[in-house]
């Protein structure tokens, strides 16, 4: 990248940006279709199958509908923020992908072009920084809507995102220690060709904690309390319609795709797969590595949908307890154990085993403490509390 003329650099960057952004948008459409079809399949029904073959054109029909719908702005909203909020959610989702390495490199016309839009040496920090901004879109949209259900959704969402962001950040420190680099490309390269060399085995508890936290960050079931339909109508986007609602919707799916891509890079070996990524010449190996990365991300996205219909939604106090009392200790332990064992033995196998054992011990201790200190719950909750949730209920 350093020895490249400026023109080649700019041109290749523009082409990469165009391809990736379009893949993201098309990916969102495919995800919406897949989610509905897979949901239908899991619930033993059909799902949308009328528009186009297998209902494939359904997202386009939905998109057209969103675009031609009246762009309604209710009277009681705070207009500047109401308009700004969907964009503030969508933009972070879009720009996070800039640092994700989605393949090794392609050599074209004598220039080696890395398959990554921006290879910056603080890649993972950039991702943490940008994803932490996504919460503004939710919070501002909720507040600007001037609707109590929206506000409750926004408050829940901000508390949830702040809580799980910690786990998200701490979960990757073990990887950073073993890789000694913050660059996503370096992290992906560090992992070998075979699955047992990938980070998810070395840092298995951290991998689980990170993935769970990512589900919470993307506001997906079982963590979708910000838009729990039974309690809050549609949560923070209750007052939104037409394209603005569609932007919220797209941002959610985009976050899922980017989150999967980041997880694949960090934990699942990036574009490595049994040495298949080195097959072929300088062009083909790049394309194959891109394909491997794409398939891995797609599988991970399928797991997203799978989880949605497997696990029931958390209650709010369960959500907070889970985040602070289980995920956070597990992530912290993984840092201590990884660091200590790596210095002492320098063997990835020992680190991997130690991590699992330590996480098991910590979870047992926490669970034991919780069981011992369990305060008797009130036998029957006051029914009125459920009908009109107050702001205090939402944070407690």
């Amino acid at each position: 990248m350093e020895n490249m003329p400026l023109l080649v650099l700019i041109l290749s960057s523009v082409v990469k940006i165009l391809i990736i952004v379009h893949m993201l948008i098309i990916g969102v459409m495919i995800m919406i279709w897949a989610e509905r079809r897979v949901s239908g399949w899991m619930q033993d029904r059909l799902g949308p199958n009328r528009v186009g073959p297998q209902g494939l054109l359904q997202p386009i029909a939905d998109g057209l509908k969103f675009m031609f719908k009246e762009d309604l702005i209710p009277d009681h909203v705070d207009k500047p923020l109401y308009v700004l909020a969907p964009a503030m959610l969508l933009v972070p989702a879009l720009i996070t992908v800039a640092v994700v390495p989605f393949g090794s490199a392609i050599t074209l016309f004598g220039y080696e072009i890395p398959l990554q839009i921006a290879s910056i040496n603080i890649g993972i920090l950039y991702i943490l920084a940008i994803t932490s901004l996504g919460v503004y879109g939710v919070v501002l949209g909720a507040w600007a809507s001037n609707n109590k259900y929206s506000l409750l959704g926004g408050l829940r969402s901000s508390a949830q995102m702040i809580s799980y962001e910690l786990t998200l950040g701490l979960g990757i420190i073990g990887i950073l220690m073993l890789t000694s680099s913050l660059s996503l490309r370096a992290i992906a390269m560090e992992q070998g060709a075979y699955p047992w060399q990938w980070n998810f085995l070395i840092h298995f508890p951290a991998f689980l904690a990170f993935t769970t936290a990512m589900y919470a960050e993307t506001n997906r079931l079982p963590f979708d309390l910000a838009e729990a339909e039974q309690e809050l109508v549609a949560g923070y986007h209750t007052e939104y319609s037409s394209m603005k609602f569609a932007m919220f919707f797209m941002a959610e799916y985009m976050n899922m795709i980017v989150g999967s891509a980041v997880t694949v890079t960090l934990f699942l070996g990036g574009w490595h797969f049994f040495g298949l990524e080195n097959v072929g010449g300088p062009v083909w190996s790049g394309l194959i590595s891109f394909g491997i990365f794409f398939v891995k991300t797609a599988i991970f996205l399928f797991v997203f949908i799978w989880v949605r219909w497997t696990l029931p939604r958390f209650r709010y106090d369960q959500l907070m307890n889970f985040g602070w009392k289980f995920l956070l200790p597990v992530a912290l332990t993984s840092i201590v154990v990884t660091g200590t064992l790596w210095i002492m033995t320098g063997s990835r196998l020992v680190v991997g085993i130690g991590n699992v054992v330590a996480a098991f011990i910590v979870v047992s201790i926490v669970a034991g403490l919780l069981v011992m200190n369990k305060t008797p719950e009130p036998a029957i909750r006051d029914n009125d509390q459920h009908v009109t949730p107050s702001a205090l209920d939402a944070i407690e």
């Binding site: 040496n121 950039y126 943490l128 932490s132």
Partner: protein
């Protein structure tokens, strides 16, 4: 003018406009948002100085965490539009004036120095070597600045424990 200078002026202007907007807006939510804009512009300035790590930390800590909590509190308390008359009274006014004068003096001092080309000239070479990579920051933190680093972590630990104690006491009062 090279591209870096243009970017510097751009980020500087955005930071200034954001800072002015913080105190000009009547509504706390808009003020908080303006502060976020300023933090972003500052992060841009850090990137221009080659301090990528500091820029990312700025966004993660200030824009990503602290300001979210600010917004959270503002929304939870449902603060309305503030009036200048009500907020500024008596002791607070005197305190604000003293702080303002001190801050203005500091600003003028820096500006005069910058015009005489002493402060700026001495600051420039440092940007190349000191804060370019995370690796160097880590090395400095754990060697030259080990004591301040450990002291800071102790202070943070004390704050953490303090928060837990306060919350615990509040719970006992309730029950």
């Amino acid at each position: 003018m090279n591209p870096e200078q243009i970017l510097f002026i751009l980020f500087g202007a955005v930071a200034l406009i954001g800072a002015i907007a913080v105190i000009s807006f009547r509504h706390p939510i808009y003020s908080a948002l303006s502060l976020i804009v300023t933090f972003f512009a500052q992060a841009g300035l850090f990137v221009l100085l080659g301090a990528h790590f500091v820029a990312a930390a700025q966004v993660i800590v200030y824009a990503g965490a602290i300001m979210v909590l600010f917004l959270f509190v503002i929304m939870l308390l449902n603060l309305g539009t503030l009036s200048v008359k009500g907020a500024m009274s008596g002791k607070l006014k005197g305190f604000a004036i003293i702080l303002g004068i001190l801050f203005a003096a500091e600003g003028i001092y820096i500006a005069v120095n910058a015009l005489n080309d002493t402060a700026v000239a001495s600051a420039e070479p440092a940007t190349e070597s000191v804060t370019t990579t995370t690796y160097q920051i880590g090395e400095l933190l754990f060697s030259k600045y080990l004591l301040p680093f450990e002291v800071t972590s102790l202070i943070l630990l004390a704050a953490l424990i303090g928060v837990i104690v306060l919350v615990k006491r509040g719970n006992q009062d309730e029950s």
